[in-house]
């Protein structure tokens, strides 16, 4: 029974889970509050959860781990910055529409109260079509390079991020809170979302017990909703076809599934989830990080899902939840606990070793069914 559990979970996962447990136990002895750590872990879980969720469709479709997540992130960044740029116009337009179609509740008072959630929703609404287009192109590309997806995805991510570095400088953004003050053009490296949609999800329905235990209920609910959407999608006809393509492309083709189409759909879905994921991340973090910001963002997401027990060609929602919690837990706990013990910040090194060690472990694992 124990042996089977170990076999199912895999040694690296158990070691890391025990390590995390040890950190939580050790925390009070070095003067770190467990409830504060736990709420930090929950906040980070909510921030990163959707981006980890973005791994599922591509893994299931046999496209491997989505190292090209930065592409989705870019769509999200475009959505986020445009929602701020057009914030005033969007709100004004909504009031106009309310007047035009005689929708009594869509009035100025309503818009003013709900301007932050509307801004957040507009960021997502702008990001999704961009993500769909980018994802479609990206999917077409990956269909031509079957077998080498992961390496190419990595470099598609890198080159798109560096391409956008040029674009952020040149795009005609005007909003003074976003562009460099002295030049009057070119977006800043970090843009605050305060006054637009800071903490709209995190603070919605949030619970704060004794000033230390804070639960970002709204963000967790949002993650749950996204997870349920993905769960339902993977059980629809299309979702089942995607899984079939991932498990055995030849068999899927023989049973009349359009392999390339299913792969493209999965890539689009991954990219869209990546776009939504980064917006959720930003509303909690408080800043939009442009330029080289999204560069290495795929690695933590990839490491999280693998830590949760996913393999290169199989991933479930449970993997996402367990993995994100473990990974973010370690990221939260190591700086606070180990630092107070050793008086140094080893978190960065531990993060590097754990996350990349996890990816390596997954890549070198003998896969039972050949792809």
């Amino acid at each position: 029974m124990i042996n089977r559990f170990i076999q199912n979970a895999g040694w690296p996962r158990i070691i890391i889970a025990l390590f995390l447990l040890g950190l939580f136990i050790a925390a009070p002895f070095v003067g770190v509050r467990v409830d504060t750590s736990l709420s930090n872990t929950l906040v980070r879980f909510g921030m990163n959860g959707v981006m980890v969720l973005a791994m599922i469709p591509m893994v299931q479709a046999g496209c491997g781990l989505n190292f090209g997540l930065p592409l989705g992130i870019i769509a999200g960044l475009l959505g986020a910055t445009l929602s701020i740029e057009w914030n005033v116009e969007i709100l004004a337009r909504l009031i106009e529409l309310g007047a035009q179609y005689k929708i009594s509740w869509l009035n100025e008072a309503f818009i003013t109260t709900w301007r932050e959630p509307i801004g957040f929703a507009s960021a997502i609404i702008i990001a999704i079509p961009i993500a769909v287009i980018l994802g479609w192109l990206y999917g077409k590309l990956l269909n031509r390079v079957k077998g080498d997806e992961m390496m190419i995805a990595t470099y598609v991510g890198f080159s798109s991020v560096s391409f956008m570095c040029i674009a952020w400088l040149l795009l005609p953004y005007k909003n003074p809170t976003m562009v460099w003050g002295y030049a009057g053009r070119g977006l800043r490296t970090t843009i605050s979302v305060e006054g637009y949609w800071l903490h709209v999800l995190s603070d919605a329905l949030s619970v704060n017990i004794n000033g230390h235990l804070y639960i970002p209920t709204g963000m967790l609910i949002f993650f749950a909703v996204m997870a349920i959407i993905v769960w339902i999608f993977m059980r629809t006809k299309t979702g089942t076809a995607i899984t079939a393509v991932g498990s055995n492309p030849e068999f899927a083709r023989a049973s009349g599934v359009n392999v390339d189409k299913m792969r493209t759909i999965s890539v689009i879905m991954s990219t869209v989830l990546g776009a939504i994921g980064i917006i959720v991340y930003e509303q909690s973090f408080g800043f939009i990080q442009l330029y080289m910001g999204p560069f290495y963002m795929a690695l933590p997401a990839v490491a999280s899902i693998l830590l949760g027990g996913a393999s290169v060609n199989k991933a479930t929602i449970l993997n996402v939840i367990v993995g994100t919690f473990l990974f973010q837990g370690i990221l939260t706990m190591t700086p606070s606990v180990i630092n107070s013990y050793l008086q140094t910040d080893m978190s960065e090194v531990i993060r590097l070793i754990v996350s990349n060690g996890m990816i390596l472990y997954a890549l070198t694992r003998k896969v039972r069914a050949g792809r």
Partner: protein, 391 residues
């Protein structure tokens, strides 16, 4: 004849594009010819060795060895020790190599063993392995050095008493190899007189007309690189080299003809890692400063980009690709920021453009390779099916 020319251009599309970009960017940047030649010579000396270390794994069919950063890290550890011990000059470099070699061999064996477990996705695995070992390297250098590993020189350590500082000046070995055999090309002054090179201490002097300024040649470094090229040519003809090429063609055929596939693959990676270690030491003796936590990260990316720009692919790379690549890549490196500044008024754009091109070119090369391989696979499957399956 025209067909051949088209084939030549199509086969070398990447270098051709770069020549065109450079042709526009050089005049825009406004740099003088002698400045460019000097910079290029320096950079050829600095980077070629690192890039050459990539050739052997490609020969063995293992793709681009992103794990070469492992060797770079080994070299850096060697350099940290010689700094600590105060060994300078050529003996210092040799000692750094001697310290780096066993570390590189151990890392190479580890890397090779890991890659043997991940056949078919060597590149992504070696890439992640680079990050993983980078974590271990940071653990060693940032925490263990000066605590577990004795470091006597306090200027090497952070103020807290352990861990190596972020930037280490390698003044003791700076340029020792480059200037071992001083050589200078001198041109004419504006009035047409040859510049005097007396008193420059140069061992070799060349004088060229129609050329301004003087150019220093890192002759010893270039000789070492030439020697190494000869080594690669010779190595290809040895039994081991032939085995590697056979494995690169087909692992299963090599296996059935008695070549120890896994062992040979490990040897290929070990050689590459050790050479990357020497390459990084040569690179850093030219730079003169060691960025303890960054120098190695760039080594891999820039070397791979340069090799691909030189017209190499994931499965085929020659010595010529290395030199064409290093010239074209670094030409762009030098001129892009200035060209960007003169064109748009912002040097940052040229800088980002350069980064974009480095990554973009790797992406394109990988895509073209995978695409071609998939088409060939499809074609061979179709030929097995016979004509009736000619969809």
């Amino acid at each position: 004849m025209i067909r051949k020319l088209i084939d030549l251009i199509a086969g070398n599309a990447v270098p051709a594009i770069f020549i065109i970009i450079s042709a526009f960017a050089i005049p825009l940047s406004g740099f003088s010819a002698s400045y460019l030649v000097q910079e290029l010579l320096t950079r050829i000396g600095r980077n070629s060795f690192l890039i050459l270390s990539l050739l052997i794994p490609i020969m063995a069919g293992m793709g681009l060895n992103f794990g070469m950063v492992l060797g770079a890290m080994a070299g850096q550890i060697g350099l940290l020790f010689i700094y600590d011990w105060g060994v300078v000059g050529i003996p210092g470099m040799v000692l750094a190599c001697l310290i780096g070699t066993p570390i590189a061999i151990v890392l190479g064996v580890f890397c090779g063993a890991v890659l043997n477990r991940a056949k078919g996705r060597e590149m992504v695995t070696s890439y992640i392995l680079g990050f993983f070992i980078n974590g271990v390297y940071q653990l060693v250098v940032l925490y263990l050095m000066g605590w577990v590993i004795p470091i006597t020189n306090p200027t090497l350590l952070l103020s807290r008493g352990y861990g190596v500082r972020n930037a280490v000046s390698l003044v003791g070995i700076r340029g020792v190899l480059d200037n071992l055999i001083p050589a200078v090309i001198s041109g004419t002054t504006q009035t047409g007189q040859f510049l005097s090179t007396q008193g420059s201490g140069a061992f070799l002097m060349f004088q060229l007309p129609f050329f301004d300024g003087t150019i220093r040649i890192p002759l010893a470094t270039l000789l070492l690189i030439a020697l190494f090229c000869i080594f690669i040519v010779w190595f290809r003809k040895t039994k081991l080299g032939q085995d590697m090429r056979a494995i690169g063609q087909s692992q299963s055929v090599s296996d059935s003809s008695g070549i120890p596939v896994n062992r040979t693959r490990i040897i290929a990676i070990v050689i590459s890692t050790v050479l990357a270690c020497y390459g990084q030491i040569i690179y850093l003796q030219n730079m003169g400063t060691l960025n303890t936590y960054n120098s190695h990260e760039q080594a891999g990316m820039f070397s791979i980009a340069a090799l691909l720009i030189g017209g190499a692919s994931v499965s085929r790379a020659s010595i010529a690709n290395v030199f064409v690549g290093v010239i074209l890549f670094h030409l762009m490196f030098i001129v892009a920021p200035m060209a960007g500044k003169n064109l748009i008024g912002e040097a940052q754009i040229g800088e980002y453009f350069r980064v974009f091109v480095s990554y973009g070119i790797i992406a394109i090369a990988l895509v073209l390779h995978a695409w071609k391989r998939n088409r060939e696979r499809e074609a061979s499957r179709r030929s097995l099916r016979g004509n009736r399956g000619g969809r």
